[in-house]
């Protein structure tokens, strides 16, 4: 187990990158603390898998170093780094039995047979595959294959880090939930450093203590699930996390006050002195309410999502979502909307620009 440090990491798939856009990863500086449960969250193609493959050593970064407990491992082979990686699609050795598959990473490192047996039995019990240990791995159902794949990642107790690359993509929804909680439980028991890559916010927020949000090869925000929800550092985080995502409303910045569709909007705190560029107001739908006074809006759509209603309304030419509990207006009705002041933030060029 180790603390993993990524220092000034840049990676490009082109042999001679010139522009900033040539880089799949743009200057990553990050510490993964020993024993943490991390989620790496971001849309497809944002560089999550690239980052993971660099940590595991399958890719060599164009620039920058990777340190395990302060030791430079950038040039080490994946085998030498002593890590485990679970991929999106189940990877098992078809020609072996379930037991041999699970025992394999240990045997390959010359671990004592009695210890191997103990670990394999333990992992098999946790993943509920102990009744199929003697079966050939090739005949398993996809979800059992993926369980096995995850088991292979977890079976070694001396790994520096276990990495999961969207491991639940191929699993049925009801099993997803089960495996996810199993994984969380496992993490609490074994205390390995775990990095879980996903583009599904629910998976990230339920699994991780710390969520690292990436977009276009950059880390946008690192924080607990609560942080990310409550105070997104970037409009991307606000929009990506939450259902529906944060409302991002173009506004005008005058005398360090925000004006939306011509009317002033009270913000959570003062705007930073150096704030400039494209100004936007960020407000989560949870904190938009229908009231007697406020912005004039016309309801264009009401969707009942069970626990509450999502109301879509137009304010001038801007669309806005609100989560309303209780009585809902009808389509076409004129309403007045107000924002909760301590949840209303200003973003400049995408980045948070209000202080508290």
């Amino acid at each position: 187990m180790a603390k993993i440090t990524l220092s000034n990491l840049r990676h490009s798939y082109y042999p001679a990158p010139e522009k900033r856009d040539d880089y799949a990863l743009k200057n990553i500086d990050l510490d993964w603390e020993d024993g943490g449960a991390y989620a790496l969250l971001g849309p497809s193609g944002c560089g999550k898998t690239t980052l993971l493959n660099i940590i595991s050593g399958l890719l060599t970064p164009s620039e920058g170093r990777i340190l395990f407990d302060g030791k430079d491992v950038t040039d080490w082979t994946p085998g030498r780094r002593n890590i485990a990686q679970v991929f999106q699609f189940p990877v098992i050795y078809d020609t072996m039995t379930v037991y041999d598959n699970l025992a394999f990473p240990l045997r390959n490192r010359g671990v004592d047979p009695a210890h191997i047996d103990r670990r394999v039995q333990e992992i098999a019990r946790l993943l509920e595959v102990e009744n199929m240990l003697d079966r050939r791995a090739s005949g398993l159902s996809p979800d059992n294959k993926q369980k096995l794949s995850m088991g292979r990642g977890l079976v070694r107790d001396d790994v520096n880090v276990v990495m999961f690359d969207e491991p639940l993509t191929v699993i049925d929804p009801h099993l997803k939930w089960k495996l996810r909680s199993k994984l969380k439980e496992l993490h609490q028991r074994v205390k390995h450093t775990m990095i879980y890559v996903t583009h599904d916010q629910t998976e990230a927020l339920t699994f991780a203590d710390q969520v690292v949000v990436m977009d276009e090869g950059e880390i946008v925000q690192i924080g607990t699930p609560v942080d990310l929800f409550a105070r997104p550092a970037h409009t991307f985080v606000g929009h990506f996390i939450g259902s529906p995502g944060m409302n991002v409303l173009p506004c005008e910045l005058r005398n360090r006050g925000a004006f939306f569709q011509g009317s002033p909007v009270p913000l959570e705190g003062p705007v930073r002195a150096d704030a400039s560029g494209r100004a936007e107001i960020g407000i989560r739908p949870e904190f938009v309410t229908i009231s007697d006074a406020g912005l004039d809006a016309v309801v264009v759509k009401v969707s009942d999502v069970g626990r509450h209603n999502v109301v879509q309304a137009m304010v001038g030419d801007t669309k806005l979502a609100a989560i309303i509990e209780g009585d809902v207006p009808h389509k076409g009705e004129s309403v007045k909307l107000s924002f909760r002041q301590d949840q209303t933030r200003l973003y400049c060029d995408g980045w948070l620009a209000t202080e508290i």
């Binding site: 399958l58 085998g79 990686q85 050795y93 390959n108």
Partner: protein
């Protein structure tokens, strides 16, 4: 018999007829074959087979054929496995063109290569050896094997390789102990096609051999001997020539179905 069975039964009869005729002839005497039409052998004889198994010019034909076919299959697989791996896993300059060019090698008739091979092998002293025929057949078999194997390897996710590296495998160990067993169906199919091509190919095999490595198919083309026509003997030789192919097909029949399903073969 139900009506819907009639067409398939007729078709199978149509396919089996020449084979039946060959087998029936192999148990007849040459005199009976030449004397006219008979559906079954009137006088059963095993003399034809006895001659083949006792006369060295006949049975060495089989041994020669099996030798160069085996050498060819081994060389083709040893070369094609790494090549197919490279095509399936790496992008390099001109990889698509090279892959296509490999296939175009199969488009030229074997006769085109008969003369250059004959001259080349005579010059370097390989003429009338098993290895000469095996190498000549590689020209056709390696591209085919690469093409078939590449299809099978494509269907194995790259993550298998990556997991093995993370598990601490070196590349050669991974390739031999994990990767090849994983695509053993593909290896079976590719080896089968190499075997079959080399087994049935006559022109190059005949051109490149004289006595020492003469294949069975070449022996069979001498229809007349000092004793006149020996049709019964030829029929027996033909029957025996079908058998190795049939045995190999039996072993790879399930894999071939899978190969077809994967869009290659």
């Amino acid at each position: 018999m139900q009506k819907r069975h009639i067409v398939p039964v007729l078709y199978i009869l149509f396919l089996m007829l020449p084979i039946y005729w060959l087998v029936a002839m192999s148990f007849k005497t040459t005199g009976e074959i030449l004397s006219g039409f008979s559906l079954f052998p009137q006088t059963w004889t095993l003399d034809n087979y006895r001659t083949i198994f006792t006369d060295p010019t006949w049975y060495w034909g089989y041994i020669n054929s099996i030798l160069y076919v085996s050498i060819n299959t081994v060389i083709s697989m040893v070369v094609a496995l790494p090549a197919a791996y490279a095509f399936s896993r790496y992008n390099f300059l001109g990889d698509k063109h090279l892959f296509f060019w490999l296939l175009t090698n199969r488009m030229a008739p074997a006769a085109v290569f008969a003369l250059p091979f004959f001259q080349l092998y005579s010059a370097v002293g390989l003429f009338d050896t098993h290895i000469a025929v095996a190498l000549a057949h590689c020209l056709f078999n390696i591209p085919l094997a690469v093409w078939i194997l590449e299809g099978f390897m494509q269907s194995i996710p790259k993550e298998l390789d990556e997991t093995a590296y993370v598990d601490g495998y070196s590349f050669p160990r991974f390739f031999i102990t994990i990767f090849v067993p994983t695509i053993k169906a593909g290896v079976g199919v590719a080896a089968f096609f190499c075997f079959m091509f080399s087994w049935v190919e006559l022109l190059l095999a005949k051109t490149l051999t004289a006595v020492a490595a003469k294949p069975i198919a070449a022996t069979m083309t001498k229809t007349a001997s000092s004793a006149g026509y020996e049709l019964g003997l030829l029929a027996a030789a033909g029957t025996l020539t079908i058998i190795p192919g049939a045995i190999v097909i039996y072993f790879v029949r399930n894999y071939i179905a899978r190969g077809f399903a994967m869009g290659r073969v």
